[in-house]
Symmetry: D2
Subunit: 484 residues, 4 copies
């Protein structure tokens, strides 16, 4: 049963051209003029693009005895609805828990996924078991990216020496280091001080995590990665300070990628000053929304290539869950949704304004991360042989975002009321048409885990350079000698 | 008569994979496993890459009643020998000469070319004729890139108002502005002062064009391009000051590309202090070689993407021609060779050290410029349908560069004695095997002119943004009014 | 007839301490405890500071057949009223006019000055006469600072080669180069384009001179000054781009000073969008007001020392004069007032907020410029032997600024309605009490011209460094030789 | 018994002028022409400058059961010999030891000092006792500056939360935070790795503390100080990365000072590659010497004001002590001398080259730190009433530095063989002529402790700004409410 996408313009990270795309057996089998198939999807007036990849989600994430409300079913349904065909979640070991053990729990959750997915492994504690399992997680599980939390002191946070040890291990194994970059010590101190001063509302969440605190941690992670000789991926880069640290690193030839979120690109800190507690609390996430100058910085980063990937950090809590934090902002669960809206919001504010070309849109929503994750061109490409993860994008289709008509399981949407122009006409996940002209036809459990290999070309190049420039002992005889 | 490249690893700007490549009728017709053809080229152990594109050459360039010594025949022969399959030369109108008229002269020279080529048009004076012909040069001739000299006062140099006018015209027409960025006024003043002080040797050429002078002009061109709303390509970016200006522009979202030369990446200013006048004079070019810190800056730019393209500015003069400047450095013809050595030198110092991945090597020698010039994927790609401009790169092949065995028509080589590892086993120009395992089989006149279209995606995006943010008049009634 | 200032706290750029100050014969004769004099001024609760120096005024400046409305009488009266005891005006030669000739005209205007003054000389054209007279202006007239306009094309503007020639001359003579930094070519082009588009209102004045245009010219002037080996003073630094260029220069050890105006520190571009044409036109000056981010940059520059001096560019035109430009913004006379309000506005927004210490306030309003101009400690100091140019500053005194009660001769005030806290109780000009607790007691013609010497320590140090690092010829024999 | 310094040129941070200086009772009593006194010192051809202040010494510092070899006697003798008249040492509490207790130990050591001195207090652990004693140390002991070690893990190092707590305490108390900025975790990891690789020589000390590690810590300390609202003083800023962090902070209006050492300004990392183990080991200090680019950065910082103070970190160990580290670089005692050579070396390489003016020399060797420490103008000034800590500087006096003729008690000198021009003719410590034309006439025990007050103007301004911009809660009613 083949499917042909007819009369569209293929748009990849590289180029745009008129062609039909023929899909069979879940993969792209032919690209060309005048193709035909069993089923025909009319892409007239549309762009045929690689489906989006969201490299940063937290579906059904354990939290205070409950879970983030979007699970792999509703979460991937929301993703597909917005043109995203792959998500990458984070497997989070509890303190002392083994990596494989944690992975097992995540594999259990993802069985209901509607689209393909992968995981990043989190390093939440350090010890010989973690050291050893890192190798097998890479080799046996095909997971090459390891996240480190520099915040959430007393919970997920690791210290500098643990980060160095883990980063060095990754350098040996050909993996990639990731960081949530905020100075956890300072966040904890500021939070305590704010609470003591009676600053208990959701706006104090933003006060407790100023951009300087993120910039500092980003800068620190970059230094540690450089010393360890490992490529670094900085998640949710939200501010100029962090972006500046990344730019400065890159201009010294370091291998660092930054990931702004669609929320930070389009929403600002004034949301926290809303008179409505619920409104503000629903926007609580870490890092918090920033001001317009930070937004401008992030957009310029996407334009210039100093930032590489747009993600969501989708971690959806209901209003009821958010209300755990009434009277104490530190108890508001951190996280917002975005999976369904990432691509339309980025298209509207990026491509329609002229900040990004359509090709750059594909790069930052799909192709760049596929390369970093080393699953390109299986993912992130419109090429023969690639998985048929495809979004047929209608640049004229419009809507106003509202929780009332969203796929996410929560009761609000941080983009409520935003008008978008540019939406999927069809979304295909490995050939299955999951979104058909506004109709959701997802298939629970269709999604498969995507294995990835270590040692991508950047790892290899960096290792060569580090070997070439490694410290050499001075050859001396008769130590000590005489002289000045 | 088809040709198949067997058993190699295809390496593009995007990815690397094992595949055979079948060529017929001058284009790539199939990529896959187990292909066969009339002729077979063994690529075992080799990388099959898009042929190099050198976007900056001056073949048979008129100079003081004579010409630069490499013409389109010897120049493109040298290019192919080193794995470069397309060159872009500069058509330089004389003062008052029309653009089409100048182009006619260049078309005459290029009839003997061994590989494909295109031109940039230079804007060397300003007037209504130039204004008008810019449109027809783009539309009829397929030339979309226009160079402006900010140096060579009294000859090629244009002033800021002329640059602004030309840049604005290009913004309307969807073209791209290029600049040779050095402050011509200051260069002229410094040169006069140096001569007056008795600083007449070739080292004074370097003294007369310090990096600050290049940085300033680069910064100025960027501002003018931003005001006019046109993308800017800065040729021969040789120093940190210019690179910094480009980085700063990019971090504000401006559309600017920088082009380091292989010479500036690998040779330094100490060459000018050589006791041998000939040695120093042979290295005289503008901008001159810089020191190690500038080199590090350029390499980091290639790694981070703040610089986009590696070129040569190939403009080869013999020792006899160089000696016009004995006793007066300002009379030494400016220019060095490099066409044959660009790719081996960059591979050796870039890929072999780990500074660049093989994919990044392809990007900066071929794919990036093909996209900028808007001739991708006809050029710069290993894709079905692309021109069969291919280099089969043997990473184990070594040689020591020497003028004694070069294709260039001049009597020396600025890379003399440099050892390189990584050389072409075969070079194909539109399917014709011009280099066959060390043997040169170029075909004079085989090369064809490459037309290009205006309005690439970056132009379109920039125009949208500039329109969106253009100045709007304040609506007032009863002008003037009363108040404070 | 001696005067003693009793019971105040002396505040200088260096330190604060309790002391009385005794004045006689126009100079400070004693500083200490328990002093007495013929007249006593009660400074209880006040700071006794060096009188302000405004290094940038245009009093009775010729313009379109008329003059800027504040002359040396009303201008210096306004100055004293606000605590400023010295102004430095610009002598502007007409095209072809000699420097001494122009100076004569300015000396004629200043006879009515109420406080001391000096001049900067403008270099508005270039030729042998200018070259020669620069020496005699410095030696005979005691004027060491020479201004160059990079804007006002067709009128005051000089080109890069003229700037280089003049800067080099100043390096020889031990003078200081000054620039009005905006790219005049681009301003002219943008202005023409805006007018053609029907953008004729005062807001188009701001559109025609974006911050990039100022940043570019600042960067260019810095490069030219560096090549010529002369210290550079950039007047009216209004934006981050210009400030960034200055910072970048300083971090390379270059000798550059930046001068923000009180207007740019406290007013923003939204003034130009006022519905009232008069309101907007009265704020027209070059550079125009900028946005909040630029303001933050300027304040940080004062805090960090990357900017050195706060001035006004006082050039006051009446509403009637402003209305020359109805229907064509390019005809609105450029300039605003500020002499009376500079110090109270800076104290209110700088010291009262904690951005500046009181000592830093003295530095940027008086001492720094006195050192740069080489008239310290005659001016800018509270030291025995210094001129008794003193302001007794009452930090509790408040007012709301209004044209209704100002000294300036014009009919409005750009700071109208601003509340200030911190005002002079007394202002002394060479011992004469010109402001006495709110009462103006200026004495027309009391002001004297302040001669200055060339070769201040920075000039000398820079010359040594430039000599040490100047280009040296390579010694060669048998030119040309043989080799590679 | 008065002393008059005749016929010299007084050079201060502000200005230079011809005057005699009369000293009596240990203070300056008159400055003027034609003064006379009981004793006359001929300053013909000399500069009469404030004596140097070295704010960073470790005299008789405990180490591995022994002490750094220069104690307060030999150390201050060396200081005076080189024109330095005050030193500031660090009181280092052992783990768990109270601040006052540690101070008592330091007061015992300093009884033999030949010149005045003060202390910084180190915060080497954190607890309620430290919190409480910080107040009494400031108020009762007159010590306002508190040092924090970010390196020396397991010994002196404090963590980020401890630093934040201490910095916040200092903000309340009006003190100043200081940091030794290197990432101690990473240094420890790198050291262990180097030893494991057989990199055991002194050059590995440099490898273990790359400039990135210092830059990171500097950046982190700046962020923490900003969050806590306290001014920050960064000791021994040795590299561009740290300097960049300081510049970046300052350009955002933060209150940070940087202190390069004379060693880092004039010596480079090649010293560690010396074939002679002793030669290399004698230069082991933290941070280690850097390369030429870092030196250039530091010099430019002094020129531009982004760096404020030149110190020595004088901590002198004999060759025998250094040899504790044969076979294990981590056991080489860290520290070099410099007290005697700081001023001649800085004059020679700074003033004689034209990088610094004589006034800037005074600023960075004396006046700036006196202001920061809040003991200006008692120290750091040539003013009536100031302590007669004076150096009469002969700019024509020359010598070659050698251990054979030094005051320091150790057996070598890291500046051995350097030729200097510019040396003290006389050095006065509170009126006592301790150096008389080459003859050392120090008086053991003459030195007194210098008390200092908290709340200098920068502290006050910063507190105002932080109060003005502190987080404010949003006023809400009916929490939570309804909405989006
Ligand atoms: Zn996170
Ligand atoms: Zn997350
Ligand atoms: Zn050129
Ligand atoms: Zn060229
Ligand atoms: Zn001006
Ligand atoms: Zn002006
Ligand atoms: Zn230290
Ligand atoms: Zn120390």
């Amino acid at each position: 049963m083949s499917t042909v996408i007819k009369n569209g313009t293929v748009v990849t990270a590289d180029l745009s051209y008129r062609a039909d795309v023929l899909v069979d057996g879940g993969v792209i089998v032919e690209i060309g003029q005048g193709l035909s198939g069993d089923t025909e999807l009319d892409a007239t007036g549309c762009y045929v693009m690689p489906g989006g990849i969201d490299p940063h989600t937290h579906l059904e994430m354990p939290f205070m005895g409950t879970y983030s409300t979007d699970d792999f079913e509703s979460g991937t349904r929301a993703a597909l609805s917005g043109g995203t065909t792959m998500v990458v979640d984070f497997a989070l070991p509890a303190p002392g828990q083994g990596l494989h053990d944690a992975l097992g729990m995540w594999h259990n959750k993802s069985t209901r996924a509607n689209c393909d997915y992968s995981y990043h492994m989190a390093v939440t504690w350090w010890g010989e078991q973690v050291f050893n399992e890192m190798a097998s997680v890479i080799e046996k599980e095909g997971i090459t990216t390891f996240k480190h939390f520099m915040a959430y002191k007393g919970a997920l946070m690791v210290n500098d020496d643990e980060m160095y040890a883990s980063f060095q291990r990754l350098a040996e194994l050909g993996g990639i280091a990731m960081v949530h970059a905020e100075n956890g010590d300072v966040v904890a101190e500021l939070s305590a001080k704010l609470l003591a001063q009676g600053n208990v509302g959701p706006e104090a969440h933003a006060y407790s995590r100023p951009s300087q605190v993120e910039g500092e941690a980003t800068n620190r992670a970059i230094m540690i990665a450089d010393m360890a000789g490992v490529p670094l991926y900085v998640v949710h880069t939200s501010c100029e300070e962090a972006h500046e640290a990344i730019r400065r690193a890159k201009q010294n030839g370091k291998r660092v990628w930054g990931e702004p979120l669609i929320q930070h690109l389009t929403l600002d800190e004034s949301e926290y000053f809303n008179q409505d507690w619920d409104h503000a609390a629903r926007r609580v996430m870490s890092p918090p929304f920033r001001n317009k100058q930070h937004q401008d910085s992030l957009w310029a980063g996407l334009q210039s290539g100093s930032l590489s990937v747009v993600a969501t950090d989708h971690c959806a809590f209901t209003t009821d869950q958010k209300r755990f934090g009434v009277g104490d902002f530190t108890k508001i669960p951190n996280g917002t949704g975005g999976l369904e809206d990432r691509m339309p919001m980025l298209w509207t504010h990026g491509v329609n304004t002229g900040r990004l070309t359509p090709n750059e849109f594909v790069a930052v929503t799909s192709t760049n991360i596929a390369k970093i994750l080393n699953c390109y061109p299986k993912k992130g490409a419109i090429l023969v042989g690639a998985d048929a993860d495809i979004v047929v994008w209608d640049p004229e289709k419009e809507k106003t975002i509202t929780a009332a008509r969203q796929q996410s399981a929560i009761d609000y949407n941080v983009f409520e009321g935003k008008h978008v122009k540019g939406l999927p006409r069809f979304t295909l996940t490995r050939g299955h048409v999951a979104v058909h002209d506004g109709e959701i036809r997802t298939e629970e459990g269709h999604g498969k885990f995507v294995r990835r290999e270590a040692n991508n070309p950047v790892n290899k190049a960096l290792s060569s350079w580090k070997e070439l420039t490694s410290p050499r002992p001075v050859e001396r005889t008769g130590i000590p000698a005489t002289g000045v």
